[in-house]
């Protein structure tokens, strides 16, 4: 298991990296943590002519939790974000979800930008990004732009990131009053989710004032369940609401089956995880 030949570059600055991207475009791949790309290279499932190693690029590994947003540099390692006290207090669902990403050893290499850019349909972080309504910041030699999560994720392992662009940061907004929880069902601890659910609620007394529900593992991209969110808003999380939400979840998705689970099962489990997440956040038995 060795990759086909490629040219290797290890730029030291973002500008240098963007210059290489501008030159090589879709013949190039960016190497960040390598936890997905290197196996794909070795299995010869991707065959870039040029590999641009970002690991020596300065200034992309910041983690900043302030001013209503957790901004992680593209090269911030998962383990650093997971253990940053400022992140844990601003947006505890981020470390909670990161704990489900593979194993600690892998997370010491995994980068936030790489995880998001890889756009695996079963990956946890894209679902969190969808739930919090986050953005992905892109740069190219020609400029920069910011895409909302739904514009960014365009398909299975596909994003709106152009061949001359790279992810430089990922923004996870911190909405006042929202609490989130993340849960998933996996074939084994640390593997990709069969289904994962990131559920958020804000409340005023016994009334839901806002709901955010996102799933991974049920479609080519992360999915926000707006109908279920609307059903919850303005009422209590009671048995009737949960039953409606369950039906709305099932109605909103049509997951494909794979080796680990058929589609119908995924659809059912999505409802289970969402309902359980809501009950956990609501606190009272419903």
């Amino acid at each position: 298991m060795k990759p086909p030949p490629f040219r290797y570059h290890d730029p030291r600055t973002v500008e240098e990296a963007l210059g290489l991207l501008a030159e090589h475009g879709d013949e190039a791949r960016l190497l960040a943590g390598g936890q997905s790309l290197v196996p794909l290279l070795n299995l010869r499932r991707v065959r870039p002519r040029v590999l641009i190693d970002l690991n020596r690029v300065e200034g992309l590994d910041g983690v900043d939790a302030g001013a209503g947003v957790v901004r992680t540099g593209a090269l911030a390692r998962a383990v650093g974000v997971e253990r940053a006290p400022a992140v844990a207090s601003a947006l505890p669902v981020l470390p909670e979800a990161l704990l489900h990403v593979a194993y600690p050893q892998v997370r010491t290499r995994t980068t936030i930008g790489g995880n998001v850019a890889h756009a695996d349909p079963a990956a946890e972080l894209p679902a969190v990004l969808a739930a919090v309504g986050g953005d992905v910041r892109l740069r190219s030699a020609g400029g920069q732009r910011t895409l909302g999560w739904s514009a960014f994720f365009s398909g299975r392992h596909r994003t709106a990131c152009r061949p001359d662009e790279m992810v430089v940061a990922v923004d996870f907004p911190v909405a006042e009053g929202f609490a989130y929880t993340f849960s998933e069902l996996t074939p084994k601890l640390g593997s990709f989710a069969i289904v994962g659910a990131c559920v958020g609620l804000s409340r005023s007394g016994d009334e839901v004032t806002g709901a955010r529900i996102a799933l991974c593992g049920v479609a080519d991209t992360p999915v926000r369940l707006q109908a279920a969110e609307q059903r919850l808003t303005g009422g209590a999380v009671d048995a009737a609401a949960l039953e409606d939400v369950r039906a709305l979840v099932a109605g909103a998705i049509d997951p494909p089956g794979d080796l680990h689970a058929p589609g119908g099962y995924r659809s059912h489990v999505a409802g289970v995880l969402v309902v359980r997440g809501l009950r956990r956040l609501w606190g009272a038995p419903a």
Partner: protein
């Protein structure tokens, strides 16, 4: 270091730290891929991309122009230069008894066809992409029951209907049927056991080196069986045995699949002979999923007949074993053992079965830890629990009532197993007690909880050569040990068994150290090289290394001790019977001043001056140990599970093993083997399965697809032992390497059925993944919405 580490005569039974762990844990082990011979070329084995078809064109011209590519061994060339590999375990009437190194018609994806050599692995893989192979595709058959159908493609002319083996087992069918007809109740169920991969941490690998000057071929191989591999390699290449040397360096696990020589290994050696430089081939994981034998896949149509009072009357299973593309070296052996051990620890008026070994277009199935006994336990123990449910009886009580009592041993089963010694009910009793202890009060979390048992008897220590002959397993059943005290007073043990993770370097040394009065640090176990190790026909398979190989060490070391005492008595002018050996010093018992260092005794022996009349020079004894009979270990496992009715997920909350493998040489190693075995059994029960599509393409390529248990899936477990010595093995050991894997599926399945009796009749298939269990819950109307 414990006291025991430095006190001689007491090492057996001690948790002696493994002598080779320092090397392994610091990354200083030498595995096949760590060998770097000058000028080595790297091989890629060219393999069939299709499941069934005739190779009609092979063109390596473009590949040979690629940078670094040196040679391509084409299928035709390989076929001309090799003889077929013979199956080792032949059942009566077996329709295919060997298989070509390179076939004209491929029968499974991954079948080896040729070899490409290049100066690096990457260059070899680049080159292999440019080798063009064209096939005339043939219809294929993937499912074992479909293979029996009239319309199924026929895979081998010797196996009409794709049936390679069809054998009755146990009592005559009429007798079993009559007994079943007499019984008050019959539980009949169909069990499907999935196809598994043994998944050693180190996949297979070979470094081959040919010396044209001497006509000697050396193969370093990640194998469990260096001599066996050598014999077959010489046979395939038409070389004399003395011109072929096989070395197993450090080997990172085997679990059964490395129990024979593979066609691709022959091809790599052939390529090295042609290239006249060393060639290295390291199997990658994706390759291993189709190139290394699989295990387990069987269907059992099974019946347990019993009376109103709970007495077992009869047991029968009709087994379809999916052999894959051709009978492997062991062919239908696992199904033979599955039916042979079906009766387990219970009495029946009558018992029997039928074994059909069926060919399909999948990777051949071979040995995998448990070797049929996992299937036997799953089938029998699930039936026992369903019988208990039918009767409204306690499953433990029903087992106890039917168990062969200690005072009934030795006991011969209907499949001619001569159970030797033990107390099966005691293990059941203790496991039942332990599983209830320490279970936290079940939280009210909506999950159902249940407890399940699995009791089994394990065939270990293959085996007397005469038994091997009776069952047609063409491997001598003996092992040889040479024990030598070197002139410096340290001891060397040469053994034919070939450890690959079991810790035999330590446990065999413990046996010798005790006999010779040496500290463990003064005993070295040498193994794995056919140039130095005594001949071993069977090698390290079938839980036999400690019984057969260890028994040889006990006897050789015991005889050497006698000689040491004789010579020391001569030197000390004392009666040998008054002497003891403490810490490498021979002394008169109770009189440590009258002593001679073992080193001095050894110097005299090897100098051979002034020996007593008639004493031969040297301090070396050899023992060839063909055991008197099989040794039967046994255990009861108990699992406590929680079942999520909304997701089907099973969590193991407690796992208990009460086990007897005779005399335990190193409890730490035995516990470790048990833990690892249970982990693999949990993979079998809940996680692992090899999947093919309907045109014979594997859907499994990585450990993302094939789910092995990890720390999250394997609970802490309670392991207790009793020790009933084997009456047949010097030292009293029984085998235990496979035991842990045998029971988990049945214990967990029974716990699931106990927790959710509404689905008990459906608990017939493994792995019990959340999706599958949820399907059962949904079908029975007990699945919850959340």
């Amino acid at each position: 270091m414990s006291d025991a580490m430095s006190r001689p005569g007491t090492l057996v039974g001690q948790r002696v730290l493994r002598v080779n762990d320092g090397k392994l844990l610091t990354g200083a082990g030498t595995f096949v891929d760590d060998l770097h011979l000058p000028g080595t070329l790297h091989a890629v084995v060219l393999r069939s991309p299709i499941a069934h078809g005739r190779l009609v064109a092979f063109d390596a011209a473009e590949a040979l122009t690629m940078p670094g590519v040196v040679d391509v061994l084409a299928p035709e060339e390989a076929r001309d230069a090799t003889r077929p590999l013979r199956c080792v375990w032949l059942m009566p009437g077996q329709g295919q008894v060997d298989y070509p190194v390179v076939p004209r018609v491929v029968r499974h994806v991954g079948q080896a066809l040729g070899v490409l050599l290049a100066t690096s692995v990457a260059a070899a893989e680049d080159g292999a992409e440019r080798v063009r192979m064209e096939f005339e595709e043939l219809p294929c058959v993937v499912d074992v029951e479909a293979a029996l159908g009239d319309a199924a493609p026929q895979l081998d002319p010797g196996c009409p209907g794709n049936v390679a083996v069809d054998l009755p087992r146990g009592d005559p069918p009429d007798a079993v049927e009559a007994a079943i007809a007499r019984a008050d109740h019959v539980v009949a169920m169909r069990f499907a056991i999935q196809r598994l991969a043994g998944s050693p941490l180190e996949a297979r690998g070979v470094v081959a080196s040919w010396s044209p000057a001497t006509g000697e071929l050396t193969m370093w191989s990640s194998t469990q069986v260096p001599h066996h591999a050598r014999d077959h390699l010489a046979g395939a290449l038409g070389l004399a045995l003395d011109r072929v040397r096989v070395v197993a360096p450090d080997v990172g696990g085997g679990f059964g699949p490395k129990d024979h020589l593979y066609a691709d290994e022959v091809l790599v050696c052939l390529a090295a002979m042609r290239a006249r430089v060393p060639v290295k081939w390291i199997e990658d994981r994706r390759e291993a999923f189709t190139a290394t034998v699989h295990g387990r896949e069987q269907i059992h149509e099974a019946r347990l007949a019993f009376d109103d009072d709970g007495r077992f009357v009869a047991l029968h299973s009709d087994v379809l074993a999916d052999l894959g593309a051709h009978p492997s070296n062991v062919g239908a052996g696992p199904a033979f053992v599955a039916t042979g051990m079906l009766e387990g620890p219970y009495r029946f008026d009558s018992s029997g079965g039928r074994v059909r070994g069926v060919l399909t277009n999948k990777t051949p199935a071979g040995a995998y830890r448990g070797f049929g006994m996992q299937q036997a336990a799953w089938v029998r123990e699930r039936l026992v629990d369903e019988a208990a449910r039918t009767l409204g009886a306690d499953p433990a009580e029903l087992r106890r009532r039917n168990m062969i009592r200690a005072d009934e041993l030795p006991y011969t089963t209907h499949t001619h197993q001569n159970y030797d010694s033990g107390d099966y009910a005691a293990a059941l009793e203790r496991a039942t007690e332990l599983v209830g202890e320490g279970l936290p009060a079940a939280p009210d979390d909506g999950r159902r909880r249940g407890v399940g048992l699995c009791s089994y008897v394990e065939f270990t220590g293959l085996g007397p050569s005469a038994v091997q002959e009776i069952v047609g397993f063409a491997l001598g059943g003996y092992e040889t040990a040479v024990v030598r005290v070197e002139p410096d007073g340290r001891a060397t043990v040469l053994t034919g068994v070939s450890p690959h993770g079991q810790g035999l370097e330590t446990s065999l040394a413990q046996l010798a150290a005790d006999a010779l009065g040496l500290p463990i640090t003064d005993v070295r176990v040498v193994h794995g090289d056919t140039a130095t190790a005594p001949y071993s026909a069977a090698g390290t398979i079938a839980s036999r290394s400690m019984t057969v190989g260890g028994g040889a060490v006990v006897r050789a070391a015991g005889r050497l001790r006698v000689k040491i005492l004789d010579l020391a008595g001569h030197l000390l002018e004392a009666a040998p019977g008054d002497l003891e050996i403490i810490q490498g010093v021979v002394q008169v018992r109770g009189s440590p001043t009258a002593a001679v260092p073992l080193r001095t005794v050894a110097e005299k022996a090897w100098l051979a001056w002034g020996l007593p009349p008639g004493m031969a020079p040297g301090l070396e004894e050899k023992d060839l140990h063909d055991p008197q009979d099989i040794s039967y270990s046994y255990a009861t496992h108990a699992a406590a599970v929680a079942v999520d009715l909304a997701t089907g997920r099973i969590e193991i909350e407690r796992y208990v093993v009460v086990h007897d493998c005779g005399v335990i040489v190193n409890p730490m190693i035995v516990d470790g083997q048990t833990h690892g075995g249970v982990a693999q059994g949990i993979g079998n029960a809940l996680l692992e399965t090899l999947v093919y599509d309907d045109v014979g393409q594997p859907r499994i390529a990585t450990f993302h697809d094939y789910v092995l248990p990890g720390t999250g899936e394997v609970p802490d477990m309670v392991v207790e032992h009793t020790q009933t010595p084997s009456p047949f093995i010097p030292g009293g050991m029984k085998g235990m390497g496979e035991g842990g894997t045998i029971a988990p599926a049945a214990a967990i399945g029974n716990a699931l059925a106990n927790a959710v009796p509404e689905i008990a009749h459906l608990v017939t298939e493994t792995p019990m993944t959340p999706a599958r269990v949820w399907g059962w819950l949904d079908a029975a109307g007990v699945a919850t919405d959340w």
